[in-house]
């Protein structure tokens, strides 16, 4: 096995934590991601926008291997993950242990929260620490409580998720991910399944994390939030990065016709 060097564009940012090269994803005969090169460095906040079916969620889900890339390599701290089969560089096998390690370091918050309904709020936030990190219960409890306080749910620790509103559930899910102290946090449309009046409380928590300087990737339809949140905005269309730049460049002064058309659909009703 040979670890092939990954060619990445030069950057003034610190060395990338996560690097993606030549990423393709097929679902059967559907070519969803069509060759993506990307890297994220500590402190970066990336907002990924695009129409439905553009591949933006799939892209995010490939980064912590919720979806397996069909082709391409992903590297963590410069080390490519998985092992290519002999003579077939496109066929990469990923040992389970390696995937678990990546996922410990790259946390994820889902559109549907995915809290564990048979555990209380506190147990949800402790679960990863106790089961995966093998932390002592008392210590895990302390850290979980700290994160639940941070998302404003310190008073709901003994409640089961089924009793909470969508906004509260999503904040518990954020606390659960934060408790693992991930180096990167992925947010997959975290407010898309919430009632409009609950969106604000979740976005406020995410903004607070941004102020702390956490490294985050966010797939979203909340363009206004993306503008203030991100250091970099990516417009994904047809499985490729159609336009990449600062929020000002992409959201206010898009150069591509397609980006403009996409943004116009969102501004039609703003007043």
């Amino acid at each position: 096995m040979q670890a092939e060097p990954l060619s990445m564009p030069e950057s003034t940012l610190p060395p990338p934590i996560l690097q993606v090269s030549g990423l393709h994803k097929w679902f059967g005969s559907l070519h969803v991601l069509r060759g993506i090169d990307f890297s994220v460095a500590a402190g970066e906040r990336v907002a990924i926008i695009g129409g439905s079916g553009s591949g933006k969620s799939t892209f995010l889900r490939c980064l912590n291997f919720m979806e397996m890339p069909t082709a391409g390599r992903i590297a963590l701290d410069g080390t490519p993950l998985g092992r290519a089969a002999a003579g077939r560089p496109d066929e990469v096998r990923y040992p389970e242990g390696e995937l678990c390690q990546v996922r410990e370091r790259v946390g994820m918050v889902f559109q549907q929260f995915n809290l564990f309904p048979h555990m209380t709020v506190l147990e949800n936030a402790m679960e990863g620490l106790v089961t995966v990190k093998r932390m002592k219960k008392a210590e895990a409890r302390e850290r979980a409580l700290r994160e639940l306080d941070k998302v404003g749910l310190g008073g709901k620790t003994d409640v089961y998720p089924g009793r909470l509103s969508g906004g509260q559930q999503q904040r518990v899910a954020i606390a659960r991910a934060l408790a693992m102290e991930p180096e990167i946090l992925l947010f997959d449309e975290p407010t898309s399944s919430l009632d409009p009046e609950l969106v604000g409380e979740v976005l406020r928590v995410i903004r607070q994390l941004a102020e702390e300087g956490r490294t985050m990737l966010l797939v979203t339809h909340e363009l206004g939030f993306a503008y203030h949140f991100a250091t970099k905005v990516i417009f994904l269309a047809d499985g490729v990065f159609h336009e990449v730049g600062t929020p000002d460049e992409v959201l206010k002064h898009p150069r591509q016709e397609r980006t403009r058309a996409f943004l116009e659909r969102f501004t039609e009703f703003s007043f």
Partner: protein, 221 residues
């Protein structure tokens, strides 16, 4: 003409029937225990990502689902001595037939319960860095267990009733004992009515117990 019901000769021989009832409970309990173990192994094999584990388990399950139980009894009791020169005592043969057969059905109960857990739960657990074993033990199985109770009880009742086939191996469970009583009393209507009532009492008490257990298990909701 009207039939003259007379239960007294049957009731006089109640120790024989009680013996049968106890043997039925015994054989059912042992077969459920082993059946659950066989079923768990088969279910995990069937859910494995590896084809060479999945396939034999699928063949096993399909074989038992598509052949009549009495054939399994005969096979273990009459065919094994001939084919492999292994002679089994009727109880052992019956337990083997019952637990392999019910194991195949339990496997489907367990598999169905596990697969009914939403994809989001698996993903939520994986995203925390859990291994397959950890997510099964901590997230999937505890939730699946509560959904398995009803079909599990259903299968176990089928198994308890299937124990009657052990009578064909001359094992002294309830039905066999009934045949003995019948040969002494020549009162088949009374004998088999009594047997039906005994099964009824047994199964109704079992289902009361099962409801109690279920209420305990889903208390968290």
């Amino acid at each position: 003409m009207t039939y003259q019901w007379d239960f007294s000769p049957v009731l006089m021989r109640w120790p024989l029937l009680l013996d049968g009832l106890l043997n039925t409970v015994k054989i059912a309990a042992i077969a459920i225990l082993f059946g659950v173990m066989v079923g768990l192994v088969l279910a995990l094999l069937r859910l494995s990502p590896r084809r060479y584990l999945r396939l034999p388990a699928a063949v096993f399950v399909e074989f038992y689902r598509n052949t009549p139980p009495i054939v399994h009894f005969f096979w273990f009791f009459y065919a094994l001595p001939v084919v492999l020169n292994i002679s089994l005592d009727p109880l052992v043969a019956a337990v083997l037939a019952l637990s392999t057969q019910s194991g195949a059905f339990y496997a489907e109960v367990f598999r169905g319960g596990i697969q009914s857990i939403e994809r989001g739960q698996w993903e939520g657990a994986r995203a925390l860095g859990m291994s397959h074993t950890q997510l099964m033990r901590r997230i999937v199985l505890p939730q699946a267990a509560t959904r398995m109770i009803a079909p599990f009880v259903e299968r176990s009742f089928e198994l308890i009733k299937t124990t009657a086939l052990a009578s064909t191996l001359a094992y002294g469970e309830l039905l066999y004992q009934a045949m003995m009583v019948n040969s002494e009393t020549f009162r088949p209507l009374e004998v088999y009515t009594a047997v039906a009532l005994l099964y009824l009492v047994l199964l109704v008490s079992c289902s009361a117990l099962a409801r109690l257990a279920e209420a305990r298990l889903v208390a968290y909701r």
